[in-house]
Symmetry: C2
Subunit: 500 residues, 2 copies
């Protein structure tokens, strides 16, 4: 049919054939040609223009599997639906799933044996009925074990993860060189952005290759003791991608699945120690202390169950962290921090150093309470910067000088409309505008924040600059910006003015 949608393989059957054979949508058929075969999911074609009676229409995924072409004759057999559909129904009915059932669901998911409707029921059931500790453990281990894995044969392997929703917040690219420069192993895999202006993988890609194979990744780690690569290229815990695909339309994110998704990837790169950052903010993924503490506890319990020492920190997620938003602007921030450039964003540096310090203490490199100082020492000594250059070179260099990073040539400065104090910078709106300007696809697009919440500004002082690689996208971003509240300035009181 020349159609490929990246999902489970579909066969389209003419509605008349379907009635004759008592076939229904989502039924399964086994298609054979020569020695090859594929199990496909039935969809019914209501028009005879595409699929005539007596013929079937195979999507590309299925065509490839059996090596078939247009007008080939194939054999068709009935096939039972996967048993895991029954388990999904059980979960939907509120029953608890044991380990073998969860393993079966994940196996069928990874092997593309479940339709999107069936996966949606699974995600929905986990969302509304929740997953308990044991189920979360089973799901995590099943996800970790159904994909590729990296075995480093190290006693201690470190990892970190920040829960999303905060623009900027590119701590990973500072933490990895700091801790690796102290000899700690940190095989960091990161994601690309889905709905944000940049993921760590998008940002690192400004400086180096990130689409590495497991083999190349291992070589980089052997050489530098760390890496910052795109997890998507590695097929770690691939069930996750299929779950995310049906979660996106409703932005559903079940806690158990969130936990499993994050920790499965840590497990699959043989991490033994993980630090999890939960930023709290009105517009962050986690919006209040209570939810944050609940999630913290859930991470700690899961960590214990799957044998990963897990430290969870709860941080301020009320506004973007760092000045640059968008791959190139964020990458420049990171290099400025590592180079100790006076332009560097101190909020980003502070958070990264704090987290690196905790890793130093977990690794036994620093005494309790001394980690942060030791981490800062790695930055100030230039060792972290040198390590980053080493990692960039090992992964495949794109750029190592912040001055050479290409920032979008079309720009628009947004000025303060009045004197006052910045009460709020909206994560959500900043992200939206940066995306409209072209991020993350156009790496040079994004926003540079000249001011943060808490700063004082005078009328006509620059608040932020929008960058774009296209005049038209810039225009659209500026128009969108005008209809939204990006930065809220409150009139300053005298006491505050004197403090400022």
């Amino acid at each position: 049919m020349d159609i490929s949608t990246g999902g489970p393989p579909i066969v389209i059957i003419n509605i008349k054939d379907a009635m004759m054979l008592d076939l229904h949508r989502e039924d399964r058929l086994r298609i054979k040609k020569g020695g090859r075969e594929a199990v496909v999911i039935v969809d019914i074609g209501e028009s005879s223009r595409a699929v005539k009676q007596g013929t079937i229409g195979l999507f590309e995924e299925a065509l490839a599997k059996i090596n078939a072409r247009h007008n080939d004759v194939v054999e068709v057999f009935f096939e039972n639906k996967p048993i895991s559909i029954q388990y999904i129904k059980e979960k939907l009915e509120g029953r608890k799933l044991n380990n073998p059932k969860i393993v079966q669901i994940v196996k069928d998911l990874v092997a593309d044996r479940l339709s999107e409707i069936e996966i949606t029921y699974f995600v929905s059931a986990c969302y509304t009925n929740g997953l308990d500790e044991e189920e979360t453990k089973s799901l995590t281990m099943a996800m970790a074990e159904t994909g590729q894995s990296l075995n480093l044969r190290k006693h201690k392997v470190f990892d970190k993860h920040s829960i999303g929703g905060i623009a900027g917040n590119r701590t990973t690219m500072i933490i990895v060189p700091i801790v690796c420069s102290a000899g700690i192993t940190m095989p960091k895999t990161s994601s690309r952005s889905i709905t944000s202006p940049a993921g760590t993988a998008d940002t690192m890609e400004v400086l180096a290759d990130v689409s590495l194979s497991i083999g190349r990744m291992k070589k980089v780690i052997e050489k530098t003791s760390g890496c910052i690569v795109w997890g998507g290229a590695l097929k770690l815990a691939p069930a996750d991608d299929k779950i995310i695909k049906v979660e996106n339309p409703l932005s559903v994110d079940a806690e158990g699945q969130l936990l499993a998704s994050i920790m499965a990837k840590k497990k699959s790169v043989s991490s033994t120690h993980v630090i999890i950052d939960i930023p709290i903010g009105r517009e962050a993924k986690v919006s209040d202390d209570k939810s944050a503490n609940k999630l913290k506890r859930a991470f700690e319990i899961l960590g214990k169950h799957i044998g990963i020492k897990t430290k969870v920190i709860i941080t301020d997620g009320s506004q973007p962290i760092g000045n640059g938003i968008g791959p190139a602007l964020e990458a420049r921030d990171v290099l400025w921090v590592l180079e100790r450039n006076p332009m560097r964003p101190l909020d980003l540096e502070k958070k990264a150093v704090m987290m690196a310090g905790l890793i130093f203490e977990m690794a036994g490199k620093s005494k309790k309470g001394h980690g942060e100082k030791d981490a800062m020492q790695m930055l100030d000594s230039g060792k972290a910067h040198a390590k980053m250059i080493e990692i960039i070179n090992a992964q495949g260099i794109h750029c190592k000088y912040p001055g050479r990073i290409k920032i979008g040539r079309f720009r628009y400065d947004v000025l303060a409309g009045k004197n006052g104090k910045i009460a709020e910078v909206s994560n959500f709106v900043i992200s939206k505008i940066a995306r409209i300007a072209g991020a993350p696809k156009n790496k040079g697009a994004g926003i540079y924040l000249h001011k943060h919440a808490g700063d004082f500004v005078e009328k006509n002082e620059k608040l932020f600059t929008i960058y774009s690689e296209s005049r038209q996208k810039l225009k659209f971003a500026v128009e969108t910006m005008k209809s939204l509240s990006v930065v809220k300035i409150t009139k300053t009181r005298c006491s505050e003015l004197s403090a400022g």
Copy 2:
């Protein structure tokens, strides 16, 4: 794209264009050509063979809407997702939906503005979180009001419904002629089979046309005071079909949706009085007293809320009702009952007469306790039979003599392997074999039961006969039958033997 799957209109966008435009699966686009436009749901094509960069692929539903052809140039605009997606999320999170929100969801559902994944989340949320009385009322009224309707301007309009799962049970085709022959109005719409060997519409079709328009249906009712037609042709409460489509893969059937689906259709044909039959049986949709009573109460409450007098009866659903299973065999049973033929199945007659009697009492045609006797009188007097012939003629006759109904010419008799008492006849297995033999698509296919549970049999006595229109299907049905337990015979004890 020459593809039509009967769902919401889909546009396939090349993955490169999608990245450039920040488009994701399930996003919406508005497509314009000339004065016409259509809102379509985005799917991403991962291969460029079908949809090249700069082009889009429209499924037939969308092509028809804007009257476009291959290689036409169309305008494409971004479109927001329907607001009802937010309401579905709310339900998924366990919140209660108010009337306007449910109305919006149903409107978007009917207008094909929701994707299947989104509908699946709605169904799943209603299933796991349940719908309360008010939500069920809202859903029912919204479903009734979004489709076509029949306004009979009658003071009292009667209807009936049997919850499924029981093979045979073709009471409707006996009840309608009985009550209509007494002047009671009963505009009966029925469904075709989805997973059973015959629906009432499939069975009635053996005798008469069932695909009537609202207009023709009205004329039949004016003439005969009733009808037995296929609801699917009428577009009554069309939201239901779209819900059923995503329910089928997991056989999910949320109580609130079941209630709304049934009662919305009654409401849309202006029914004022309804009798609901809930058969209980291990293999029926409802398996125990407790669930049956809960469902009974829910029907009564919903009836009160939407202004339909609702009487619910709980009946025996432990085995098939009537002897014939499959459209032709069931239609013959019905005519035999109406003709008072000695071959008629008395269990089916008894149940139909009991239900018709209740309708007589609700209608004030009979004194309390006399309905059943009066209903039987209509049968015995031949008035019900005459009314059925009138209805058959008004709808468009296919056949009115039981002897002329074509039963499959390939048959297989199944004999008792031993003397004994029949402990059980499996609804589930009987249905499966009848379907494999060709029912409901091949109207003459099915099973004829010579014995029911409770009957005594001698070795080599006929238990049932399998009928098919094709030798091969019969063979397959017989093979399947051999691997399953259809009829369970227990050795008779002496006391029972003497009683027999």
